[in-house]
């Protein structure tokens, strides 16, 4: 029987400092404020509803404007803006992106239905006939229809059942069409949209907004990674086999500390070697950054990762980032718990060495399927000895009774859990189980940061 901490004797967890949730709430508030601003613009600038079908048309204009705004938010979430990455963290960004993706499709479909129905009523024509009129007699509507089909296609390809059947490259390539779709859709907004057609100021503001987001895409996704990689001259310095199927790659360069990643963050790495250059993959830094090089540690799980084990020394590297929100900010003086599943140890290895915490109060739980999969054993034990930390190795699969991740077992492994700051990294299912256990132990979600990956 495991020891279960009595929650009544603990300080109320919600009152402890160091919550991450404030950042997420702040981001949500900014997004809602933007939507309110867009709605306010529509309220002031859209022609007042008049005549048959005008109410539908009015609602259709609003849904169209909101769709444009949400589409821009979706892009901004995805361009690895450092502040968004740090504050929200990858899992939260992904969840928000999925949620807003579905929302965007609903807005676009409503926009099409409402506008067509409204115009059909005004013209006393049928919906199919009005659709034809819209596409043939209004400028750029055909472009917008193409854009809508592209966006719906991208959304459908991201439904988990379908996504699993697609090659990553195919899915990712399809996703890049979003940029084309947004560019196509922009023109019908400013030429047919009633707000923009006759209000030069609003049209200019909307154009600047779209152009600004487009420029941000180019800067943050293309120019900045290229510039940093060439300025710092990032190359593969060494490749070390940790276990038969895990390799560590050391990336060296000039003044790499100026890239300023935090321990626990990752870059999206692109290795300019034949057969690998067209893909960028996220790999966490597996040691605290600060030296003259970065180390990443990769589990060989497919064709691409197998290629990484054979990268020639000196291969050019392009790094996009730093990304991710597994960050231990300063000012935390309580205990810290790190819970790793498999290769998820990599960012937590960096945090284990550097996360600020109360004296002797950092605990690392590290689960692997097979003892041969344990990496960094000596490093982890050395750090534990230096910092007065504790490492628990759990060996066995998910169903193995020796390492179930129930609330009781977690409390036994980390007795201070209820008032700890908790970092979780592992496969998606593992991270979800841990988060559920933490929730049932009363650890506020604002003090848990988790990042997961699909194998």
């Amino acid at each position: 029987m495991a020891i279960v901490a009595d929650p009544r004797r603990l300080p109320p967890p919600a009152m402890l400092p160091g919550a991450f949730s404030g950042a997420a709430a702040g981001m949500a508030a900014i997004m809602v404020a933007g939507a309110a601003l867009v709605t306010g613009t529509w309220w002031r600038a859209a022609p007042p509803p008049f005549g048959p079908g005008a109410t539908l048309t009015d609602a259709g204009r609003l849904t169209g404007l909101l769709a444009g705004y949400v589409a821009l938010l979706q892009v901004m979430l995805r361009i690895r803006l450092p502040v968004v990455e740090r504050r929200l963290g990858t899992d939260s960004i992904n969840e928000t992106h999925r949620l807003l993706g579905g929302y965007l499709i609903v807005l676009i479909v409503s926009h099409v239905i409402l506008i067509t129905a409204g115009y059909a009523l005004a013209a006393r024509s049928s919906i199919p006939r009005e659709l034809t009129t819209l596409v043939t007699s209004y400028p750029y509507i055909l472009w917008a229809v193409v854009a809508a089909y592209l966006l719906i296609g991208v959304a459908v390809s991201s439904i988990p059942v379908i996504r699993r059947r697609l090659l990553y490259e195919a899915w990712h390539g399809l996703h890049l069409l979003v940029y084309a779709a947004l560019a196509l859709a922009f023109f019908h907004q400013v030429t047919v949209g009633e707000h923009f057609r006759h209000q030069a100021g609003l049209r200019a503001a909307w154009t600047v907004l779209f152009a600004g987001v487009g420029a941000a895409v180019i800067v943050f996704r293309f120019l900045r990674p290229l510039y940093l990689s060439f300025r710092h001259h990032l190359v593969v310095g060494s490749v070390v086999r940790e276990t038969p199927n895990i390799v560590s790659i050391r990336i060296t360069g000039r003044n790499v500390h100026r890239l300023r990643p935090r321990p626990g963050q990752y870059f999206r790495w692109r290795f300019l070697a034949p057969g690998a250059w067209y893909l960028a993959h996220p790999y966490s830094l597996s040691e605290e950054p600060g030296g003259r090089s970065f180390r990443i540690t990769v589990r060989i799980a497919g064709r691409h990762t197998a290629m990484l084990a054979q990268l020639p020394i000196g291969t050019r590297v392009i790094a996009e980032g730093p990304c991710g929100g597994l960050i231990a900010g300063a000012g935390w003086a309580g205990p810290v718990a790190l819970i790793a599943g498999g290769i998820g140890i990599t960012p937590l290895r960096a945090l284990f060495a550097s996360a600020p915490c109360a004296e002797n109060a950092i605990t690392l739980v590290y689960r692997v399927h097979d003892p041969a999969d344990i990496i960094f054993r000596a490093e982890l034990q050395r750090i534990a000895a230096q910092r007065g930390g504790t490492v628990h190795f759990l060996i066995g699969g998910r169903g193995d009774p020796r390492n179930d991740l129930s609330p009781a077992s977690l409390t036994r492994l980390c007795p201070d859990l209820a008032w700890s700051r908790v970092f979780v990294c592992g496969p998606a299912g593992y991270a979800q189980t841990i988060r559920a256990s933490l929730a049932s132990l009363g650890v506020p979600s604002g003090r848990v940061r988790s990042e997961s990956f699909q194998m």
Partner: protein, 144 residues
């Protein structure tokens, strides 16, 4: 999925509410929302200038330019009374313009005939068309 349903239904309720409010509180006809058009106000004749009888005849007004295109009317005056205003040119840049301006012209004609002047309320939702219509009408009346 649950969060998406919440978000969608919340948005739907919000949109229904704001659209309903906007439909019920249509702004006064003389003030197009967002940008009151100074040209419209300047063109409106002062009340004292409109109380005169017109010479009988058929006259075409000057084309009045609006953001949506030119508007031009032809007025018919019989025994000093305006009996007919025909819209010769109305905004027709796209289907929606045609659908809005045609009924607006019919409403304006009725108003003009009953007021016997170009000093009538504009049609809300078609303020640009109304402004051009009344300016062209005034220029025709000035010649009679």
């Amino acid at each position: 999925m649950r969060r998406l349903l919440l978000l969608v239904s919340g948005t739907a309720v919000a949109i229904v509410v704001v659209v309903a409010i906007r439909t019920h509180i249509q702004p006064p006809a003389h003030h197009p929302p967002g940008r009151p058009s100074p040209t419209v106000r300047v063109a409106l004749p002062s009340p004292s200038a409109t109380r005169r009888a017109y010479h009988s005849g058929v006259t075409t007004g000057a084309p009045a330019r609006t953001d949506y295109g030119a508007v031009q009317v032809r007025v018919t005056v019989v025994h000093g009374r305006i009996v007919k205003v025909a819209a010769l040119r109305l905004p027709h840049g796209n289907q929606m313009d045609v659908q809005l301006s045609k009924p607006a012209a019919r409403v304006l004609e009725r108003r003009v005939i009953s007021a016997q002047s170009a000093n009538v309320d504009m049609v809300s939702g078609a303020t640009y068309t109304s402004g051009g219509y009344l300016r062209s009408l005034q220029s025709a009346l000035d010649r009679l």
